[in-house]
């Protein structure tokens, strides 16, 4: 459609007539995500203090190759070149990492907070050139549902970890760490199964969902979770980081797990 003639062309970065605190929300996102990324990167490269008693940090699970007794296939294999930094977290963390990176909620949030595209609604941008997600490179955001599919088994492993976290040396029990890992998988479930791509795959693609009563029921639940997707995204991000911190502090001996029974 022919481009209408607009008189409002000459904008500069940050120009707006908004008088509210429009910068606050992108700033909080920047600080929140920034802190998480820095911490998660640091934690992933530690390669120690990720197992304590029956607990394993969600950053390191499933531990495919590693030095802890929880490793599935023993220690780091010889074919991984020694000059590369190794940590079991690196083999797994790219799945939840790319899942969150391509998540529709996070995309909208970090485009604003980290790329000022736009800085906030009705606030001018630093660049005039724009491609969006229409072409390379951001067209790859369309692969989100592949990372969703990879996240199902990772989440199941974390559920199994909660079960393992109930088995102490002296038998069945519940510790504070068990509860933390359990809350974490519940929050992760609310995030993963409220995903927009999941909502589409489970029923959103159907125009006559009334013909599929079972899927319709699941679709309605997913829609309900999806309505709070942003909240689940942040809650689960916080709980994953907190679970890692908890296990790490226990493993380092700084904190002693509190055994409930």
């Amino acid at each position: 459609m022919a481009h209408p003639d607009i008189v409002w062309d000459k904008n500069h970065f940050g120009q707006t007539r908004r008088s509210d605190l429009w910068w606050l929300s992108p700033l909080l996102v920047f600080l929140g995500l920034g802190t998480f990324i820095v911490y998660a990167t640091w934690a992933a490269f530690q390669n120690k203090y990720y197992v304590s008693g029956p607990y394993i940090s969600p950053f390191y699970s499933p531990e495919i190759f590693g030095d802890s007794p929880r490793a599935w296939f023993g220690p780091e294999p010889a074919w991984i070149p020694r000059f590369l930094p190794y940590s079991p977290a690196l083999l797994i963390l790219w799945i939840p990492g790319l899942f969150r990176f391509t998540c529709y909620y996070y995309r909208g949030a970090y485009y604003k907070a980290f790329w000022a595209d736009p800085p906030a609604c009705a606030v001018s941008e630093p660049r005039t050139h724009y491609r969006g997600e229409r072409t390379f490179p951001l067209i790859f955001q369309n692969l989100h549902r592949y990372f969703l599919r990879l996240s199902y088994p990772v989440w199941l492993v974390l559920v199994y970890d909660v079960w393992r976290a109930c088995w102490f040396k002296d038998g069945f029990g519940i510790g504070l760490g068990t509860l933390i890992l359990a809350v974490n998988v519940v929050l992760l479930a609310c995030y993963i199964f409220g995903c927009h791509a999941f909502r589409h795959l489970i029923g959103g693609a159907l125009d006559q969902i009334s013909r599929h009563p079972a899927r319709r029921r699941i679709y309605n639940c997913v829609t309900c979770l999806n309505g709070n997707h942003k909240k689940w995204a942040w809650a689960s991000l916080g709980s994953v980081a907190f679970s890692d911190i908890y296990v790490r502090l226990c493993a380092m001996g700084i904190w002693h797990d509190w055994r409930i029974f």
């Binding site: 007539r17 724009y130 969006g132 549902r145």
Partner: protein
């Protein structure tokens, strides 16, 4: 609240313009459009403003109030900070006609490019269709649109990057979603959505949803589901061949 409030109103046309200040007495219950009418009646009879219903249903009085796209008739003065001037401007994404009035006709031209509703054959010999309520519910939300074009105004793809030639904007993704998800419709708009309407330009920053006066969940219920349909067609061979989740 009673007293005077200062309104800083943009005056001008396509050639340019400037702000003019008006102080006017206000009273409880007033909305921005009331104040504009008072100024027009008492101080500036040539002030151009478009309105019709004063009830948030005709979508005519769209403007930018303190920098945010809003309906003038639905913005109460009691919700604004009257210690500072209330800044009123026309929508920036469309060409100026005069003062607060913009030319939104681009939107009507865009609408004509979207493939029309194409129902399947009637279900009954009398020419009637049967639709389950559950299937009607989903598209019902999109029919609340009053075509105020505030979402088009705030969308940075149009507002900042002027992609009017390639991008149809959130209002027409809502329209396309209403047709595409309609239980009776058989037309296929997916290729157009990707190529001609450039749904990929939308980076789901949700400004459109935040300004919609009808509270249509534009991004989550219209745009993202349409993006997912584009993914089905072009980026997900696994689903096409194995029908997996």
């Amino acid at each position: 609240m009673p007293g005077n409030a200062l309104f800083r109103i943009w005056r001008g046309d396509a050639q340019g313009g400037k702000f003019q200040d008006f102080s006017t007495p206000i009273s409880p219950g007033m909305v921005v459009l009331d104040a504009v009418h008072k100024i027009q009646a008492e101080q500036a009879p040539d002030l151009a403003v478009r309105w019709n219903c004063k009830a948030g249903k005709c979508g005519s009085c769209s403007a930018e109030i303190n920098g945010m796209p809003k309906l003038m008739c639905m913005t109460r003065l009691s919700d604004l900070n009257l210690d500072i001037p209330v800044v009123l401007e026309p929508m920036r994404t469309f060409p100026s006609i005069r003062d607060l009035v913009t030319d939104v006709s681009w939107n009507f031209r865009v609408k004509k490019t979207i493939p029309k509703f194409t129902p399947r054959k009637p279900d009954a010999p009398d020419g009637a269709w049967r639709i389950a309520q559950a299937d009607a519910d989903r598209v019902q939300e999109f029919r609340k649109c009053i075509e105020c074009f505030l979402c088009q105004d705030v969308c940075h793809v149009l507002r900042e990057h002027h992609k009017h030639d390639e991008f149809i904007g959130p209002r027409f993704f809502v329209y396309a979603a209403a047709l595409e998800m309609h239980p009776l419709d058989t037309a296929d708009r997916i290729a157009d959505l990707r190529h001609k309407f450039s749904i990929g330009y939308c980076n789901i920053t949700t400004c459109c949803r935040q300004v919609c006066p009808e509270s249509i969940t534009i991004t989550e219920n219209a745009i993202i589901p349409l993006k997912e349909r584009v993914v089905d067609r072009y980026f997900d061979p696994l689903k096409r061949f194995f029908r997996i989740l």
